[in-house]
Amino acid sequence: MNKRTLFYLMPLAVFVLLGALLAIGLTLDPRKLPSPLVGRDAPEFALPELKEPERIVGTEQLRGDVVLFNVWASWCVSCRAEHPVLQALADRHGVPVVGLNYKDKRADALQYLNRLGDPYGWNAHDLDGRVGIDWGVYGTPETFIVDRQGRIRYKHVGPISWQQAEKEILPLIRQIRSEG
């Protein structure tokens, strides 16, 4: 191949390189940030429970079982979309689901649960979002899996789809449970 042919092949090479970069870059979700919390102990908190404000719930109640910790709010539209999935995980698969009600008015949150059903074992009421900051919450809904030792094993940002629940979350919960 002489120099001239090489020269005319340059645009093709650039095209292929650019195509490869875009193919990788555009399939990444820019909203998915790797959480530094995965693998670490769940951030400590103690907050009033949503339905029974005199009861305090928090990190202590997270230990002992593999739980799904879901951050939600009544003003959050994608939380509504996710709600039936959480309900099914709790009802049909016996997954303990607990919640952090994030920057929400108590009355609004209770109405939301009355209307859509309540998959949560308990809900911590994080009115000012301070606990949310400790958990690195930046977009509701967010879902964490916390193991028996109270360590965060998984984080998902955005609504959980049926497919993700079946293909990702349930197998992972089963695996963590089998660790003993």
Partner: protein, 156 residues
């Protein structure tokens, strides 16, 4: 005309700067050192919901929560390093507008300089070949003809 354009652009720039100044968060410190630390931190930290805005620029709810958090920590005497560590341990290194130099970020930091180097090599080579080209192209009969034509022009 040039002068008018110059004055107009200065005026536009001034207006823009005034606007940028007005969008700062309203928090005031008594101590100018703390005030400066607070402002510097707001520009160093990214708002995680809005991606391409710093905490200082963003109007998002989370950004204002984080501004309040930074304010509380700075007024409690936290150093810049401590506040940054606090944010990184919760939101990851993504919150930093100036990513640290580590193996994972070598490409990020190195790419602009590599591209600059490639550009300089290409520029150097093309400049050299274009200077060499006219000498190559000159052929004796053509230059003789050119000289003749020029001389005819002088006679006229």
């Amino acid at each position: 005309m040039k002068r008018v354009l110059y004055v107009a652009s200065l005026w536009l720039l001034g207006g823009w700067l005034a606007f940028a100044g007005a969008s700062f968060s309203p928090v005031e410190f008594d101590d100018p050192v703390l005030q400066q630390r607070y402002q510097a931190l707001l520009h160093e930290l990214r708002c995680t919901v809005c991606m391409n805005q710093s905490l200082a620029d963003s109007g998002a709810g989370l950004a204002s929560d984080l501004r309040r958090e930074v304010y509380n920590q700075v007024s409690a005497g936290a150093s810049e390093r401590e506040v940054i560590d606090f944010m990184v341990s919760r939101y990851g290194e993504f919150v930093l507008y100036r990513p640290p130099l580590r193996p994972a970020t070598y490409l990020l930091w190195g790419a602009p300089f590599t591209l600059l180097l490639i550009g300089m090599i290409v520029l150097y080579r093309s400049a050299r070949s274009s200077r060499a080209a006219p000498a190559e192209a000159a052929d004796p009969t053509a230059s003789d003809r050119a000289r003749r034509l020029l001389q005819q022009g002088d006679d006229r």
